[in-house]
Symmetry: C2
Subunit: 397 residues, 2 copies
Amino acid sequence: MKTKASLIALVSVCMVRLCVAQSKEPANDWKPSTANIVGQEFPRISSERRAQFRIKAPEAKDVSVNIGKPLTVTKSDDGVWTITTSPLDVGFHFYRVLIDGANVADPASEIFCGGGGGGLSSGIEVPTGEDFYELKDVPHGEVRERRYFSKTTQSWRRIFVYTPPSYEQKTSARFPVLYLQHGGGEDERGWPVQGRVCEIMDNLIAEKKAQPMIIVMERGYAQKPGEQPVPMRPPQQRTNAAPSGPPRDFSRMFSTFGDVVINDLIPMIDKTYRTKADREHRAMAGLSMGGMQTRNIAMAHLDTFSHIGIFSGGSISTNDISGAGAFKKKIKLVFVSYGSRELEGGRGGFGGDPKANIEALKAAGINSYFYVSPGTAHEWHTWRRSLHEFAPLLFKN
Amino acid sequence: MKTKASLIALVSVCMVRLCVAQSKEPANDWKPSTANIVGQEFPRISSERRAQFRIKAPEAKDVSVNIGKPLTVTKSDDGVWTITTSPLDVGFHFYRVLIDGANVADPASEIFCGGGGGGLSSGIEVPTGEDFYELKDVPHGEVRERRYFSKTTQSWRRIFVYTPPSYEQKTSARFPVLYLQHGGGEDERGWPVQGRVCEIMDNLIAEKKAQPMIIVMERGYAQKPGEQPVPMRPPQQRTNAAPSGPPRDFSRMFSTFGDVVINDLIPMIDKTYRTKADREHRAMAGLSMGGMQTRNIAMAHLDTFSHIGIFSGGSISTNDISGAGAFKKKIKLVFVSYGSRELEGGRGGFGGDPKANIEALKAAGINSYFYVSPGTAHEWHTWRRSLHEFAPLLFKN
């Protein structure tokens, strides 16, 4: 009986394996991730959107990859670990490598600011079948790195500024400005690097789908002299140093950073670049924490901004604008977006259901849009698509 | 006797330790490296120029740092490894961390393109007592990222372009151009990031020590369609992937890259930016491999360039210009530099002693300079100082 049962079990296992093999033989059509360092074959992606990593760590007991998906890990005799994931969502994902308890970046990938817990991470690009964010044969703008002195923080701050292709040619033309913010744990490099702001805008402008505009990308952390620094991430999560500093405190992410934007950044930009320096030609948008900052700063300064974009960072309800006829008169656009995976199972933005909120704003006569990025989560491909949907709606009049 | 000998030995050891302690008690005045990610306390530097690293790797058997100096490594009970170096040279150093045989970057440091074997590395800044490369309260230029299409390579290439503070203000002014190249295993990010080109030039221009100029930083690797890629580094040295590709081949680092510079890059720059588009206002310089490229490309195109800078990359002898009266008439400046550590023990540039070569050029009536950076090796602080010495000599007439 025992033998028979074992035999049946064995046959069952074989059949299951066979079924798996027949229906789910992993595709063997790997291509290197476009986020790799030039010439690196790994990490690579299959048509099934599985990722495969190779880490050389001959003496390690345990190697893994933190990308939020189940993994298969094998080690070869020459000390190379091969790690294969289950299928990933489309688009860009941060990841980190774990080597015997050390949490590090993959030497085969370019480095990106952000990722779980913040700081610098590796990144992988899973093909999307879309090309709105790819480099094309169109006129190209520039991303400019600039330092300026903030009176609010009494310190030098770094910004990136996208200028459209026509900025250098039309040397007396003036342009509207979008202030575009990254998320928590990231910095001013997020939008120009993994956000692909230059490629997205160059393509939209070439297709005449968006107005040529200047885009300013600041660092969403600020403290006045004497204030405790606002940590960009919980230090104990990923640092190799001992935990230090105060617990995470978002409160000044709105107040002090708002002072920087209103009192220092905007006057400097209007002085330095050929802007259309009025509220009608000024927008603010951001993702996640940057969306919350946009909501707080722009709503408190309707004399400064006329267009608002919130990507995966809450929404605006009619309660927020109750009694504010001024809002209806002043605001030209409210845009709210999420990745579909963020909304699955009834999850969604704090401050109420974002879709219902936008419907209510529309009913109140406010020019409002709600966009859902299909099959993406709280990740950069959601925000690339959000910018691609949002930018054409800006500065239309 | 044995006991007595042991006692003497013990006393001797104690005395030696005491001597060491008295004369070399390590300074305990650590300060975080300015190349750290914001908020990271490690790596840190003492006034003796020792560096101390902390790596959290609880399960690792062996952790080390590759920075070319002897180390002391200790591990605490909580799995944090502390690594202290002997005194380092001043300036910027690449480093990588070794965790059980894996060669990775330190999560506590910003990431820099370059380092032993190439690719992306961590970096540490050892204070120099100099401030010519620090961000100061002076008018600031920009570093602009731009893509352009090369007909030679039939591909899009990325460049960085420094524009001086006056470029945006004086919108009809035209500026001379320096083409400035990185070294082998690095890319176009070298000069704007660890090279501090913006800070160095902003400071020199503010002090009226250098002419306002445009600086163009290209990627010094190029292949025509069908050509094998020129590897930026020996792949087997640092990649986690299996070794692949042909052995290192520098030959096309001059020919194909020269075609890119002469036929694609310079015409595009002169069309896109307000340049003084003649040979009198065009210079080329580079470090190491970029110095060799400068020597090859500029010497073959004296109708294009009038100023030449070679940093740690050989020199120019009178043999190179023999019979070339044209050289003497056309070339306005030859500048050659090395770090003093590169010249120690009679080492130095290939192609003959660089100082003797420059003396001979001077004797032949050519405006030539030789600069030695004190106490630095084949590293970025040598090249920061070289740029700081070279730029004031450019475009003086």
